[in-house]
């Protein structure tokens, strides 16, 4: 950390960076898009929350960069940075008033300026922005100076309130399904946003809970550790059974729409578990991973669809072929790239993925693969008399796939092969010197990953009932890569965390859809810069990194590109 000549330099620098981030958020259109939803009804919208969170984060950062021994300077610095962030926004409003920025930046609309000035017009809005910025900066500085316990409780409860507000569309219909819980709806939600008393109540409730946990949490954990091994085992089994039961009940608890979201998350978990083996375990960066997904989906489509009329197998009849094709193509791709490492491998696999997509799309292969129109009328999977047709039913199919694949990955990780993969990941030459057969180890990684991906593709084809080449573009590979990196490379629970965070949440937040890849990109950069091990790092890595409790840089929104 470089200490400038003047102690207040940090405040100004961070304030300017924050201001640029805010202006970017505004011009990209995020603020405006997010403003349609209120967090607290008629009091604060999601867009304003985003603005506020960036200011708080930046001011907190400014406070952190100031020596703690000088509390006055901490406050001044956080105040300055908040003030500057507000000032830069005010500048945007002034410039926007003088020049029509909209000719270039399509999102610099009058509505944006209204939002930025809180509907008060330019004259009243600018002092408001400056004052609000400075005040929030000061608050962040105070938060930094507060005791650790208070800071934690405040951050957790504020975060939860924002979380509940953001997820209101998910929670409200769910509560409404369950008679007694509908009361909560009345108390907590309005048509758009939380009620004021609900917000306050929720805040206090969460604050109390987190305070209680902070006080008693360690004691409870210690108690659990002191239990006899048999009862610990019993506890583990019960919690595992409970988890399975919850997973089975999910589509029944939440309605149709959420079941659809779960199925999408499940497909990505399947894909993520497969890529996790290739990238996370064996360290082979594969950017053409979507090709195997496409191969699985197209195999099922060609074998089952009456539209082409070559074969008319059932889903279960086609599934082994799909997985076999996946394994085969995994090996076929694997052989040529065996000698490549690192970035060359990444680019070669990217090329491979694109080749598959272009071939499928071309008129040349149209009689066999349907060309740009794709293949339709793929029959649904059925088991006895049950047909997996609605999202709620497909959910179980995917859940079964996820559990199976999760179990296999878990066993593989601890197997001889898994250790060989990790050895290759850490150092190829040393691994080879230790007697690991690089050829078979790498090919097995590609084949296993491809098999999982093909399984996912097969389910995807039967879920949609049709396949199109456009569903298999490079973005899917990037999405999957992103989710395993955010979750933590090589970590199996990390895949689930990543899939929920990067696939589930955007599905729930419609406003978010347009900025999905923007945020993914920023998240990838930010993760690599700040937390390369991921949100839920693999146990081994965590142990390696645990030396000193690394300074947690919690990004409140995850939108900061970097510092």
């Amino acid at each position: 950390m470089t200490q400038g000549k003047f102690i207040w330099q940090q405040g100004i620098k961070i304030g300017l960076i924050g201001g640029i981030v805010e202006v970017l958020l505004a011009l990209v259109g995020m603020i405006e898009a997010f403003s349609q939803r209120d967090i607290v009804s008629h009091i604060i919208s999601m867009g304003h929350t985003l603005l506020l969170l960036v200011i708080l984060f930046m001011a907190y950062l400014a406070a952190k960069r100031t020596p703690r021994t000088e509390p006055l300077w901490v406050l001044i610095n956080s105040f300055i940075s908040g003030l500057i962030v507000g000032g830069v926004l005010a500048l945007l409003v002034i410039v926007g008033g003088l020049i029509n920025l909209r000719k270039v930046f399509i999102n610099a609309s009058p509505l944006l300026y209204q939002l930025l000035t809180f509907d008060q017009g330019v004259k009243a809005g600018i002092p408001l922005l400056l004052g609000g910025g400075g005040l929030s900066g000061l608050l962040a500085g105070l938060l930094y100076l507060a005791s650790k316990l208070l800071r934690r409780v405040l951050i957790i409860s504020l975060g939860s309130v924002v979380g509940v507000g953001v997820l209101q569309d998910l929670l409200r219909p769910t509560f409404a399904l369950w008679g007694p819980l509908a009361v909560i709806n009345e108390w907590l939600f309005t048509a758009n946003g939380l009620t004021f008393h609900g917000t306050m109540g929720l805040f206090v409730l969460i604050a109390l809970l987190s305070y209680f946990w902070a006080q008693k949490g360690n004691a409870i954990r210690a108690d659990l550790k002191r239990l006899s091994p048999t009862s610990q085992r019993a506890l583990r089994i019960t919690s595992f059974l409970l988890l399975i039961m919850i997973l089975l009940a999910l589509p029944q608890i939440f309605g149709l729409f959420l079941s659809e979201v779960f199925t999408i998350v499940g497909l990505y978990v399947l894909l993520g578990l497969g890529l996790n083996i290739v990238v996370g375990f064996a360290g082979l960066l594969d950017l053409g991973y979507v090709a195997f997904f496409a191969i699985g989906a197209y195999t099922v489509a060609v074998l089952t669809s009456p539209e082409l009329g070559f074969f008319s197998l059932s889903f279960w009849g086609a599934l082994p072929f799909a997985i076999f094709m996946g394994v085969l193509s995994g090996v076929l791709l694997g052989i040529p790239v065996l000698k490549m490492r690192g970035d060359y491998l990444a680019i070669a696999t990217l090329g491979f993925g694109e080749i598959i997509r272009i071939l499928v799309l071309s008129d040349f292969l149209r009689p066999w693969l349907g060309g740009a129109q794709g293949i339709g009328k793929i029959p649904k999977a059925s088991l006895g008399s049950i047909e997996f047709a609605t999202p709620q039913q497909i959910y179980y199919l995917i859940l079964a796939g996820c559990l199976l694949v999760g179990f296999i990955s878990l066993r593989l990780r601890d197997s001889r092969l898994g250790r060989a993969w990790m050895a290759v990941r850490e150092d190829e030459d040393v691994a080879q010197a230790m007697g690991i057969n690089l050829v078979s180890t790498k090919l097995l990684a590609f084949a296993t990953g491809a098999a999982f991906s093909a399984l996912s593709g097969a389910i995807f084809a039967s879920k949609l009932g049709s396949v199109y080449p456009h569903s298999f573009n490079v973005m899917i590979s990037i999405n999957i890569l992103c989710l395993i990196i955010v979750g933590g490379m090589g970590s199996i629970p990390g895949v689930l965390v990543g899939a929920i965070a990067l696939v589930g949440l955007p599905e729930l937040l419609r406003e978010f859809a347009e900025y999905r890849l923007l945020v993914y990109g920023a998240a990838l950069v930010a993760m690599m810069l700040l937390r390369p091990a991921g949100l839920w790092p693999e146990a081994l890595r965590r142990r390696e990194l645990h030396g000193g409790e690394s300074a947690e840089t919690e990004s409140p929104s995850g939108f900061e590109p970097s510092k």
Binding site: E354, L481, G521, M528
Partner: protein, 353 residues
């Protein structure tokens, strides 16, 4: 002799030879079929070649950025395609303003120069920001980390520009003096293609002599040889890396305007495919090797433009032009497999990868 050969060869090698031989046979067969059928006249071939040269020189300019950054940092700057996109997309607004005020028609050369400057400046700025924010903190990180960062940065930039400027295609205004064609005997050259080829050739010549002759160019080459020793020799490594990004950004910005002149539209996603192709060109010429990148770009442009009609058509493939991109990607994969050091390159891929 035969025994030793058998000991050295693994089954994978044999599989690869078969793949290579198969592809070679297909190419020769297809070309022979097309040429004997005589479906295309020499005019067609001339047009294909000129188009390929123009497109190839754009690839070559973009490839400079890849190859120089790889040479100095040993990383693929995956976001270079967005450096390429940002320039002409921003300069579009200048061009559109010139067009609507009539300045573009009254002073076409001055306006083109201004458009070039704006585009090159924007691209350079983006390249600098990338280097400072995303890559500099990760210089000592494991190899995969900067690559993943670069992929993230690439998508972040793409969608930031989409958010800023909108998601539609923007039609680049037509420069009147670049319309029309020149006839050389029986062969014609479109004027804008001539501009692209000449401008790219001038820029590449300037860049090459800068790298070869100037003090800074020598310092950059020294740093890509060996960082530690060159820093002991008193070279400021940080400054050389920044300079490399500036050169890469400038050539990408210039390539961007040429691309816009040629295809007359800009889009936030326009960088992706040319980016990968330029990377292919860089690998083709031997990554880290500057003249190699230029040759590789031109070669790739030619193959892409001549290839579909030369050997795909002969094989009886319907609509061969749809597979134009596939040719480039297959070439990329093949080069990476058979000759990762490229046509002119040292054996970097094995030595340092």
């Amino acid at each position: 002799m035969l025994k030793r050969w058998r000991e050295r060869t693994t089954p994978t090698d044999i599989v690869m030879w078969f793949i290579g031989a198969g592809i070679l046979t297909l190419v020769i067969w297809g070309s022979a079929a097309t040429l004997t059928e005589g479906r295309y006249t020499s005019h067609h071939w001339f047009d294909f070649i000129i188009f390929g040269l123009a497109q190839g020189s754009i690839y070559a300019l973009i490839a400079m950025g890849y190859t120089m950054v790889y040479g100095i940092l040993r990383m693929i700057n995956f976001a270079h395609s967005e450096v390429f996109m940002s320039g002409p997309y921003t300069a579009y607004y200048v061009a559109a303003a010139f067009y609507s005020s009539g300045f573009l028609d009254s002073q076409p050369i001055i306006s083109l120069i201004i458009i070039f400057i704006v585009s090159m400046a924007t691209s350079t700025l983006i390249a600098l920001l990338l280097e400072r924010i995303a890559y500099r903190p990760l210089r000592t990180a494991p190899r995969l980390v900067p690559l993943i960062t670069a992929i993230g940065a690439s998508f972040f930039l793409q969608y930031t520009f989409r958010g800023l400027y909108g998601s539609g295609f923007q039609a680049y205004p037509v420069v009147k003096i670049l319309e029309g064609e020149w006839m050389f005997g029986e062969f014609r050259i479109l004027k804008f293609q001539a501009l692209v080829i000449v401008a790219a050739a001038l820029l590449m010549a300037a860049l090459y002599s800068f790298i070869q002759r100037s003090r800074i160019g020598k310092a950059i080459r020294a740093v890509s040889e060996d960082k530690e020793i060159s820093s002991l020799m008193g070279i400021n490594i940080d400054r050389m890396i920044v300079t490399t990004f500036v050169i890469g950004g400038m050539s990408a910005g210039a390539a961007g305007v040429l691309y816009a002149v040629m295809f007359k539209q800009v889009h936030f996603f326009m960088g992706f495919i040319p980016g990968i192709k330029a990377f292919t060109a860089a690998v083709l010429g031997g990554i880290g090797n500057i003249p190699g990148a230029m040759l590789g770009g031109i070669f790739l442009g030619l193959v892409e433009s001549v290839g579909p009609s030369l050997f795909l058509d002969g094989l009886g493939i319907v609509a061969p032009y749809q597979l134009k991109d596939a040719i480039a990607f297959i070439m990329l994969v093949l080069i990476l497999i058979f000759r990762p050091s490229g046509i002119l390159g040292e054996r970097l891929a094995v030595k340092k990868a």
